[in-house]
Structures are given as structure tokens and as C-alpha cells.
């Protein structure tokens, strides 16, 4: 077995270009995923931590419907493979837009499709993380807060939110790392991220050992930085 360092040095600039794209998809995808996840997770958990004495009228009906819709979203995404989701968003969804909205030339570029896939996929899993964290909060604290005469918004902002957030950090870290690695699947829709770059270099020089070792190490560096940052952050917030 021969292992040539030279091959790696030549490949690195292209691989780093790919890594940059991987980071972009991950960061934008996770920011969007957090927004989707927090909204869907709160919608799903709100009915179970609200007081029966306050569940009446239009607002309660809207909250219930939003919770059901969020549940449907989570179950759909959790129940389908991410590759199928990426294919659907890249190939199938534009067809729907073209015929239904009458925009014949409509299509996503691969990068946009990749980012949307991460937003939706991570969003569904983050929704469950948010829901779990919110449900783990002692209902007594909710009652104590409301008994002081504060609004529901104030309750979420000052009590439920901060306490749930602390409990979300470990599982969120997990999801962030999973989403970063999931970006490698976008090789199938032709996004030039890290795995795709590796694949292309490999196809031209056939140096599988050198290229895939390097690709693996670059992923490991990225996930390690993520894990380390999260651990630092976790230490600064006391978990209660």
C-alpha cells in the first residue's frame, strides 16, 4: 500500500472549497431549522402545558390547530428519508410550482434545495427537542408564574424559555452534528460540498485512501469544533 502525501496537498484547496460550502449549508440550514423547530415545537407543546382554565375561545382553537399541523409536519419529515426529501425539493417541488402557480421556468438551484432540505429536516427534529424540553418543565412553575398575574408571553419569555433552553443544549448539539454530516448526502443533487469534491478528485486520480482519509478528517475537524463550542456554551449556562 502506498500513501502519498503529495496527493493530499494537491487535493486540499478543492476540498476546502467543498468544506466551505458544507459550512454554508449547515449554518444557514440550522439557523432556519432553529426557527422552524422552535415554532413547531412550541405549537406542539403549548396545549399540554397550558392550564385548562385558560383553554377557551378562538385563541385556544387556533393553538390546537397549530399544534396538530406542527405534529403532521414532524411526523411527515421524521417518517421519510432525507435523500427523498432532497430529491423531492430539488426535482418534484418545482414541478408543482410550475403548473400550479404558472411559472414555467421555475427551479431551485442545487444549493438552495440543499439549504431548504436542512431547514425542513433539522426543523422537524429540533421541534421534537423543543417539545421535549418544554414538557420537562415542572407544571408547578407554570402555575406559579401565571398565579402572579403575568401574561402567557411573559411566562414563555422569562420562565419556560430560559429553563427549556438549558435542557435543549445537549440534544441540540447532537442534531447540529447530524445535520452537518447529512449535508454529504447532497452529493446526489450535485452540490459541490465536501463529499462531492472528494468524489470528483477521486474519480480523476483514483487515490481513494488519501482522499477519503482527508475528507473524513476534515469532517471530524468541523464536528469537533462544533462539539467543543457547544460544550463551552453548556458549561456557561448551568443546567437546571
Amino acid at each position: 500500500m502506498d500513501f502519498e502525501l503529495e496527493v493530499i496537498l494537491e487535493a486540499i484547496p478543492a476540498l476546502l472549497e467543498g468544506a466551505k460550502l458544507t459550512c454554508l449549508i449547515t449554518v444557514v440550514g440550522l439557523i432556519g431549522g432553529m426557527i422552524v423547530g422552535v415554532l413547531a415545537g412550541l405549537a406542539r407543546s403549548a396545549p399540554s402545558i397550558s392550564l385548562e382554565s385558560e383553554n377557551y375561545g378562538l385563541r385556544a382553537a387556533i393553538a390546537k390547530t397549530a399544534g396538530k399541523l406542527a405534529g403532521l409536519f414532524v411526523e411527515t419529515i421524521r417518517g421519510t428519508p432525507i435523500i427523498v426529501q432532497a430529491m423531492f425539493i430539488y426535482f418534484a417541488f418545482p414541478l408543482i410550482v410550475r403548473s400550479m402557480l404558472g411559472m414555467p421556468g421555475f427551479r431551485f438551484d442545487a444549493l438552495t434545495a440543499a439549504i431548504i432540505t436542512i431547514i425542513i429536516n433539522a426543523g422537524a427534529y429540533i421541534a421534537e427537542i423543543v417539545r421535549g424540553a418544554v414538557l420537562s418543565i415542572d407544571k408547578g412553575l407554570v402555575e406559579a408564574g401565571l398565579s402572579l398575574g403575568i401574561s402567557r408571553f411573559c411566562l414563555y419569555k422569562n420562565i419556560v424559555g430560559p429553563l427549556a433552553f438549558r435542557r435543549m443544549i445537549p440534544p441540540l448539539g447532537n442534531q447540529f452534528i447530524i445535520s452537518l454530516k447529512d449535508t454529504s448526502l447532497f452529493i446526489i443533487i450535485g452540490v459541490g460540498e465536501l463529499t462531492r469534491q472528494g468524489q470528483e478528485i477521486m474519480a480523476s486520480n483514483f487515490r481513494a485512501l488519501e482522499i477519503w482519509s482527508t475528507v473524513a478528517i476534515i469532517y471530524l475537524i468541523m464536528t469537533s469544533i462544533m462539539a467543543y463550542t457547544l460544550r463551552r456554551f453548556e458549561k456557561r449556562l448551568k443546567i437546571l
Partner: protein
């Protein structure tokens, strides 16, 4: 003329098929210290929780400080501002210091400035004997201290009445007294109080009125001494034999 703070009119409360309050009629006037005793499952906690709308009644009418439930249920927040609640399990906010817990109500429910809230909170921490514990987190306080902070937190909203739901039941015996002392102090200042408790001595010493409940019904209602020394119903006689 004394004004009515709390008025139950034929109130009914159900949890599923279980009726917890049956046709309850009760009027509590400003300044009364009402102690409620009764076996577990008698509906005494539920009665208390209905007052500050943590539970909504299913039948009859409940008038708290002029607000009619369930008709004016959109005004629940106003009721809660006037009815402070102390829980058996304390329920201090674990991510805030004792002082921040007490400042929370004035800041968020009453819209006071930070300075005002701090002034109110410091005075109340002093009152419950914890002036030097303001910067401790709940987990660093004993049960008795936590419950005194809870009392201060409720008082900080400046309510017109205080509701206590078994405030000493989760405490070690040696910590009960310090909480009861604080409660007595508040009672002496003329606060309207409704206290669900098993502390018969407290009822005798501080209460102006004693209610005995069983199976969702107020069985006896009168002066604490009268009820405790000469109970009329067999159920209260039996209950007192077990408790005292």
C-alpha cells in the same frame, strides 16, 4: 360594612366524571383569616385553586374582588394580581436568585421599574427574615427559607388576599414554625387569607374562621375554637381524632 372578597354561589367543579366541589356556597369578607381542613381528596385544594382561576369552575358562580367567573374569564389576570398564591411545592423559579424571584411580580405583572421592584423585594425579604439571602439561588436555600421567599414573591405583587395551599406540608418538622410565624405576621397586618393546612394549632391561634370539608362539601363552618372543641358532625370528630 365589610366588603365581600370571595363569594362562591352554588359552585361545582368536576374533573372528568369526578365531582370535586358540590354546590359550594361560601362568602369570605375582607380581613378574614379562613383556615380549611379536611381529609385528602376532600376538595380543599381545588376550592383554593378555583379562587385564583388555576382551575375554572364548571357550574355556579364565583365572584372574586368584584370579578364574576366564569362570565368574566377574560379578566383572570386581574384576579391573579389580587390573589397571591403559595404552593405546597414552593415552585420558586430555579434560574433566578431569591431576590430576583421576589422582584419578578412587581417587574412583570405590575410593570414597576427595576429600582422600585428592588426596593419592594428587599423590604419583603427583610420581612420574611431573609434579608441576607437575596443572592442565593433556590437550590441553596432550605425548604423553610424557600417557602418564605415564595410568600415574599406573592406579597410583592401587592395582592389584596393571600391563598396558601398546604404551605408547610412539604417541610421537615423543624422548618414548619418559621413559615407559620411569617404567615401569622401577615395575618396580623390585616391581610385576607385562605389557608389550606393540617396545622390545627395555627388554625386555633391565627384563624378567625375554620372550614371543615369532606367529599367536596363544606361540612362545618365556624370559629376555630368552637369547631375544634365541640365538633358537631361525626366526620369532623373522626377527622380530629386522626389529626390531633
Amino acid at each position: 360594612m365589610k366588603e365581600n372578597m370571595i363569594e362562591f354561589k352554588n359552585v361545582e367543579k368536576r374533573f372528568g366524571n369526578l365531582t370535586v366541589l358540590k354546590d359550594v356556597n361560601l362568602t369570605i369578607e375582607n380581613g378574614e383569616i379562613v383556615v380549611i381542613i379536611g381529609p385528602s381528596g376532600s376538595g380543599k385544594s381545588t376550592l383554593l385553586r378555583c379562587i385564583n382561576a388555576l382551575e375554572m369552575i364548571n357550574g355556579g358562580e364565583l365572584i372574586i374582588d368584584g370579578i364574576h367567573l366564569p362570565r368574566e374569564r377574560h379578566r383572570i389576570k386581574e384576579i391573579r394580581l389580587e390573589a397571591g398564591m403559595v404552593f405546597q411545592q414552593f415552585n420558586l423559579f430555579p434560574h433566578m436568585t431569591a431576590l430576583e424571584n421576589v422582584m419578578f411580580g412587581p417587574l412583570k405583572a405590575r410593570g414597576k421599574s427595576k429600582q422600585e421592584a428592588q426596593k419592594i423585594a428587599e423590604a419583603l425579604m427583610e420581612k420574611v427574615g431573609l434579608a441576607d439571602r437575596g443572592h442565593h439561588f433556590p437550590s441553596q436555600l432550605s425548604g423553610g427559607q424557600q417557602q418564605r421567599v415564595v410568600i415574599a414573591r406573592s406579597l410583592a405583587v401587592q395582592p389584596r388576599m393571600m391563598l396558601f395551599d398546604e404551605p408547610t406540608s412539604a417541610l421537615d418538622p423543624e422548618l414548619i414554625e418559621e413559615v407559620l410565624v411569617v404567615m401569622q405576621k401577615i395575618a396580623e397586618e390585616g391581610m385576607t387569607m385562605v389557608v389550606v393546612t393540617h396545622e390545627i394549632e395555627f388554625a386555633k391561634k391565627v384563624g378567625t374562621r375554620l372550614l371543615f370539608m369532606d367529599e367536596g362539601i363544606i361540612i362545618e363552618d365556624g370559629k376555630p375554637v368552637d369547631l375544634l372543641t365541640s365538633p358537631k358532625s361525626d366526620r369532623l370528630k373522626k377527622f380530629l381524632r386522626h389529626v390531633v
